[in-house]
Symmetry: C2
Subunit: 133 residues, 2 copies
């Protein structure tokens, strides 16, 4: 790991070499999704200007939009005070970040009251069957 | 854990019983911080309307603002499609979420170019010595 450039060595990756990254719409601030990055994916993100994550389920680089076409153009990368969370301000191509066909992955809202529960409050913009064909 | 209400059992806590929570300014969408919650802290958050986290370093509930006075009034709680990240839309009392005295913990921006590096781009609004007295 000594070969990593200084700006990458300053990050506090977890025991798996990963760091969570929040993707936020650069224009209106909507939080779109949270995914994971390793040093390689972050270096590629910074180099290409498009978000690249690390897929934990597939154990490989995940170039966001590689299947769906919903790439994320990265306008700004920020790091928090502890150095263990990234924030990417992105332009979401296609306007859809979530694999469910919604704009944001955070479409479940907690309704409190007598019977609290999670309610889907955001519309499906595109049928996932037509996104991943 | 069977005694947990259904809406809490739907969450995918990690092996330590924790789930990350993003706090976002309810008014302008600024991402303020990321912290951890367990079931108890989330239940108290939902019940009281003020953000309560789980402090991993102190291994106890962390009622945000208990020392600094910078409490977070929670306006909305959202859950992502995987059920493993929370998003809290909050009103940040005092306008400062970060222990460094800045509004947001995400004050370091990656400057690319020949010598990439993290640069502090947001001002300290209040000296931490005066926040934690």
């Amino acid at each position: 790991m000594n070969t990593l450039p200084e700006w990458l060595r300053q990050l506090r990756f977890d025991e798996h070499g990963l760091i969570p990254a929040i993707a936020q719409d650069a224009h209106d601030g909507t939080v779109l999704m949270v995914a994971w990055m390793n040093a390689e994916s972050l270096a590629e993100t910074a180099g290409t200007g498009y978000a690249v994550y690390w897929s934990r389920s597939r154990s490989r680089l995940w170039r966001k939009g590689e299947e769906s076409g919903h790439r994320q153009r990265v306008r700004e990368i920020r790091l928090d005070c502890d150095g263990d969370v990234l924030l990417l301000k992105v332009e979401q191509e296609g306007g859809i970040a979530c694999h469910t066909g919604r704009r944001s992955c955070f479409f479940q809202r907690l309704e409190t009251g007598e019977r609290p529960g999670w309610v889907n409050v955001d519309p499906v913009l595109k049928d996932p069957e037509h996104i991943y064909k």
